[in-house]
């Protein structure tokens, strides 16, 4: 019997809906889990995913991708390719696994929530594939670093990081809890799949895979490519969701969700991708600066695609564009200074040639940031390494959980006052790195008020002893796991 073509059965099979007779709408789609109640149920029937796939096709595609990726891993695992990689690139890979592997698995919770509580059958169908994608991404990105353990024991931070109170983990976990672990289906679609995946990661994964191949890391390049193609598919859930929301008169709420998460995504990107692109990736392999990447890809994408749906630029757009020049440079200085507190080896990336590149890409870098590295370099050269390590914590933002670096904003001409921004809620003082972080907090304080930043934990006695040794132990780092300078200070001694 000839098989029906997909187009003959797809919509019918996909749109599995029925009228509730024994329960009411709110029982099946409770608002706190679904978040779709602003739009009438029948309006959700307009939800349609641009790229369609059947379960048979999905499984076929995934098996093919897994076969290719795992075969390549087996071949590369027997070679010395990883040993030959630039130390800075190894840091990119180890940082990535610790920060991203577990969130990919946790993203399956968000996808599953859309798969159950998305108000359109088509949406639930697409999200079911998304759930399987994210389970796969969690598994493959813990399995690959497991293969590195003989060469890089901190590959196990792919699994371990999210079970610690490391300060980077606190920031990433706070972000992803907000974005998809503790979020309703509608907000997951707009904040995870539309804002983060369509806006940032889908593009970043393309660039990252290309960079990996360029530096000779075929294994990581193949892995990231295999993930990116899944992302490109399940990221589509955001577009029809925002379209239904806007078509039914709720642009303002969609804009709020985008504004909220675009800023948070930017903060995470500045930390992870900003440092990777401008400091860790070997100079010869840098195709563009982080700022150019954001301008050419993220900004253009937002302008072209998000605005097609009638969305405006977020209200803090000027501040975001301004930060491209300085924010991640400040964060890099802090991360390198606090290098024992991260699970990868921080690459200073400030050899004379690299400083020249930074000044060329970011005119004024030497004036604003080079002077700190002059002091750090002098301490390294004179053997005064103790002065290059911290003895207390920076004050962390109560929203993004990253160090407050408004002082660097003053040096870059972006701010006039280095003081953290404040907000008092129920008698507790909260401190913020920026107006958008404070705005996100104050719009829904009950969502964030119970959390303590790493600095709060030090101040309120959660960390004992309350010194840097106690802090490192609290963060889950044994001495053997402390990050060190990736190049063993060659950059400071003119050997780079």
């Amino acid at each position: 019997m000839p098989k029906l073509s997909r187009s003959d059965w797809y919509d019918l099979a996909r749109d599995m809906n029925w009228t509730f007779g024994y329960v009411n709408e709110a029982d099946v789609f409770p608002e706190e889990l679904s978040g779709t109640g602003r739009v009438p149920p029948e309006a959700w029937l307009a939800w349609d995913e641009p790229y369609k796939i059947s379960y048979r096709e999905y499984v076929h595609n995934q098996v093919t991708k897994d076969t290719t990726t795992y075969s390549l891993k087996n071949a590369v695992g027997r070679s010395k390719l990883f040993d030959q990689l630039d130390p800075g690139w190894k840091s990119v890979v180890v940082a990535h696994y610790g920060a991203i592997a577990m969130p990919e698995y946790l993203a399956s919770f968000g996808e599953a929530r859309m798969g159950r509580f998305g108000r359109a059958a088509a949406w639930r169908n697409t999200a079911t594939f998304g759930t399987l994608d994210e389970v796969r991404h969690g598994q493959i990105q813990t399995f690959f670093p497991y293969g590195l353990l003989g060469k890089e024991p901190r590959g196990d931070w792919a699994l371990k990081a999210f079970h610690t109170n490391n300060w980077i983990t606190l920031a990433v976990r706070h972000l992803f809890d907000d974005m998809f672990v503790a979020n309703d289906a509608l907000s997951v679609a707009i904040q995870l799949t539309f804002t983060l995946e369509t806006g940032f990661t889908n593009l970043q994964f393309l660039g990252m895979a290309a960079d990996a191949i360029d530096v000779g890391d075929l294994e990581f390049g193949s892995l990231i490519s295999s993930i990116q193609t899944d992302e490109a598919r399940h990221a589509q859930q955001g577009e029809p969701t925002i379209k239904v929301l806007i078509d039914n008169g709720h642009k303002e709420y969609g804009q709020f969700l985008v504004d909220h998460m675009f800023w948070r995504a930017w903060r995470a990107f500045a930390l992870l991708t900003g440092l990777s692109m401008d400091y860790y990736t070997p100079l010869d392999s840098r195709k563009m600066s982080f700022k150019e990447f954001i301008q050419d890809w993220v900004v253009k994408q937002f302008a072209d695609q998000f605005r097609d749906y009638g969305l405006d630029f977020p209200w803090y757009w000027d501040e975001f564009i301004n930060e491209l020049d300085w924010y991640h440079h400040a964060i890099h200085t802090v991360v390198w200074n606090y290098r024992p507190s991260v699970w990868w080896n921080s690459d200073a990336g400030v050899s004379p040639k690299e400083r020249q590149w930074l000044e060329e890409k970011y005119p004024g870098w030497n004036r604003a940031f080079g002077k700190h590295w002059d002091v750090l370099t002098e301490n390294v050269r004179t053997g005064n390494l103790a002065e290059t390590f911290p003895e207390t914590l920076p004050v962390a933002c109560n929203l993004c959980q990253l160090p407050i670096v408004r002082a660097a904003g003053v040096l870059a001409g972006a701010h006039t006052d280095p003081a953290p921004l404040r907000h008092v809620h129920n008698g507790r003082v909260y401190q913020f790195c920026s107006e958008p972080c404070r705005w996100i907090f104050t719009r829904r304080p009950e969502r964030f008020a119970g959390h303590k930043s790493i600095t709060d934990r030090l101040w309120t006695g959660d960390i004992n002893p309350p010194n840097i040794g106690g802090v490192l132990a609290y963060m889950g780092l044994s001495e053997a796991e402390h990050g060190v300078d990736a190049d063993n200070y060659a950059w400071a001694n003119g050997k780079h």
Binding site: T392, L393, V395, A407, L411, P418
Partner: protein
Amino acid sequence: MALLPLSGTFLGDVTTVGVVVDDEDTAEAVGQKIAHHAVGRRVAARTAPIRVRLGGRVLDPDEIIGRTGVSPYDHVEVFFDE
């Protein structure tokens, strides 16, 4: 004698640090405690005196921090007086 958590920024540094001082400390001592985490580490050392600004007012070096109206978690700015 009570512990007083403060956030402090040494002007010219990249970040704000958390410190715990004694509320009987002088402004001079508070300034030195914050400078310890920045000067000679990320900010070049100078011979100029170090001053503390709280709420827009530069404190007298002998002023007792606990009697300045400061509250826990307040921010102080520290700088070379040149």
